[in-house]
């Protein structure tokens, strides 16, 4: 069962945010870099849903873009079904590209407003030369029905649909090249709460039906709880904890994960004491030394300010925290 489909090893991405060369020379500034993602490792097994959670600026979307090849990594590598992705070009990349797809956050920006829905969905089919002629039209109609729309909708333009319907169209497009792996970058965060559940259920049904593997990016823990088999928690571009889906909610190990879980609104009104998320994510241009979470951490110790914490195994997965290392040593 646990056959790895996607392996991410030591993945890192640095952005050059320096001023233009002339300004740097005149104002005597050095080059500036922003480290969006540093040293991230994870493996996604075939058929599972792996979720990445974190606040804004934690590097979730950057990882998503690197996985689908929109952005080249500055370090590390991405292995898809045994093939290293970065640097691969030509026919083998084309064959790889057919096997993964992406669903975007904003369904109002992810569909070309000048194209008919049918053309939008058929684009990957044409690109990979999967079908031709009337077979394309039939396949598009089939896909529209799969996602809960009607085959006649292919003639319409995106502006004739609501946000939830547009996201269904985006899903149909993602499915049209018959991919095995889909990266979902906050697919429901732009939708009404009532529509979110429908889209999530559709995605789960499709997963069961087609055996899809998802990399699911979200900042919404309740959505992640509904979807994920395994969860990775990102903080400032680093993976601070990884655990089995349900276990993470039962027993979080890293103090940041606990802080995030505490912040989830308590609809049951159980009256449990909640610790609010304090502070803000630091500036990634000038991250704090040592463990980047230490300025906000309730368990902060001296060694947190100097050394990057090692990744250790927990009962539910793995985590990177000096306090946990210390507890394990004792």
């Amino acid at each position: 069962m646990a056959e790895p489909l996607l392996q991410v090893q030591g993945l890192g991405r640095r952005f050059d945010i320096s001023r233009p060369w002339l300004n740097r020379v005149l104002e005597r500034q050095d080059r500036q870099f922003l480290t969006a993602v540093a040293d991230v490792d994870f493996t996604i097994n075939r058929g599972e849903t792996y979720a990445l959670v974190g606040e804004s600026g934690s590097g979730k979307s950057t990882i998503a873009k690197m996985v689908v090849g929109l952005l080249p990594p500055t370090s590390g590598r991405i292995v898809f079904d045994g093939q290293v992705m970065a640097g691969t070009e030509g026919a083998s990349m084309r064959a790889l590209r057919r096997r993964f797809q992406m669903i975007f956050q904003d369904p109002f920006a992810s569909l070309n407003p000048r194209w008919r829905v049918g053309e939008i969905i058929a684009e990957p089919i044409h690109r990979f030369g999967l079908l031709r002629g009337s077979a394309v039209t039939n396949r598009v109609g089939e896909l529209l029905e799969t996602v809960g729309l009607s085959a006649q909708d292919a003639e319409k333009y995106p502006h004739e649909f609501s946000g939830g319907q547009r996201q269904r169209i985006a899903i149909a497009r993602a499915l049209s090249s018959k991919p095995e792996f889909i990266v979902c970058d906050e697919p429901t965060s732009a939708l009404d709460v009532s529509v979110q559940a429908q889209i999530l259920n559709l995605m789960r049904d499709l997963q069961d039906e087609l055996g899809l593997t998802y990399l699911f990016i979200s900042h919404d823990l309740s959505v992640v709880r509904h979807m994920a088999n395994r969860i990775g928690v990102l903080y400032l571009g680093r993976l601070v904890e990884e655990a089995e889906g349900k276990a993470l909610f039962r027993a979080a190990h890293h103090p940041y994960t606990r802080m995030l879980l505490d912040a989830v609104p308590d609809l049951a009104l159980s009256g449990r004491r909640r610790q609010p998320v304090e502070g803000e994510i630091p500036n990634p241009i000038d991250p704090p030394p040592g463990c980047s979470f230490h300025p906000r951490c309730p368990l902060v110790m001296d060694r947190c300010r100097t050394g990057t914490p090692p990744v250790i195994a927990t009962q539910t997965g793995r985590a990177a925290c000096h306090a946990l290392t210390l507890a394990a040593d004792v």
Binding site: K65, R97, R98, Q101, A109, L111, R114, E123, R173
Partner: protein, 304 residues
Amino acid sequence: MNRIARAWDSDIAWSFRHSPVAVVAAVVSLGMILAAILAPWIAPHDPFNPASLNLMDGFTPPGQPNAFTGNSYLLGTDDQGRDILSTILYGTRISLFVGLSAVLFAMVLGISLGLLAGWKGGWVDSLLMRIADVQLTFPAILIALLIFGVARGFIPPGSREQMAIWVLIISIGLSEWVNYARVVRGAAMVEKNKEYVQAARVIGVHPVRIVARHILPNVMGPVLVIATIGLALAIIAEATLSFLGVGVPATQPSLGTMIRIGQKFLFSGEWWILLFPALTLLALALSVNLLGDWLRDALNPRLR
């Protein structure tokens, strides 16, 4: 049929029907374009055929019979005895041809360079936009004069007359491309970061195809507006150049050439030689410009 009904119901059509200025401007410009196209069939005389011209007919006032020959012309004749009405019809034809061709040339050049700058970014963008900035510091007419002068130097004297019109088109086009390039570049930079472009990149669509099929259709709205206003500008630029004597040769008079010829006789009493071509140019430029203004407002979501 369905398509026509849908077009009739669209926002643009609604806005058009409810703007009397736009309707009048459209009728006037369409009428003039039609008259210009049909000039060889509807013009009462052929002003380019020397055999049909009679110098005795010169300076006939509008609507009155000539003192020597008794011939009567609706808008009078010029110093050579050419019928003003026919010359205006043919002149509008040349003015419109030069204007449309110049706009088309400026559009193709401006859109291509704008898309290139917007899509590539970096030094390509910097280089193209600095060239555009430098060019914008000169008046467009000066640029056109310069290019016209330089280009004439390369053309052998024998073929200058036939080439003049093409040189004119290229000069005006080169002086106007910046407007298109800047707008297209800005719009392309916005569009290229939208998720539908990323969706195409994920499946590895070729960049040229992405720019042509995804980005281009989404930047054409503002380009259409500039092109309409640019047409009026190009017609005026052609008239200005011809008025200054560097445009189309006198054997193929455009509206600007006619105005140049006419202004020589304005103070000796033959006012019609200047007035009618000038009014025609005014009506043409104004109606096209008003149409452009309306289109700009109609396509601007903030003004709806």
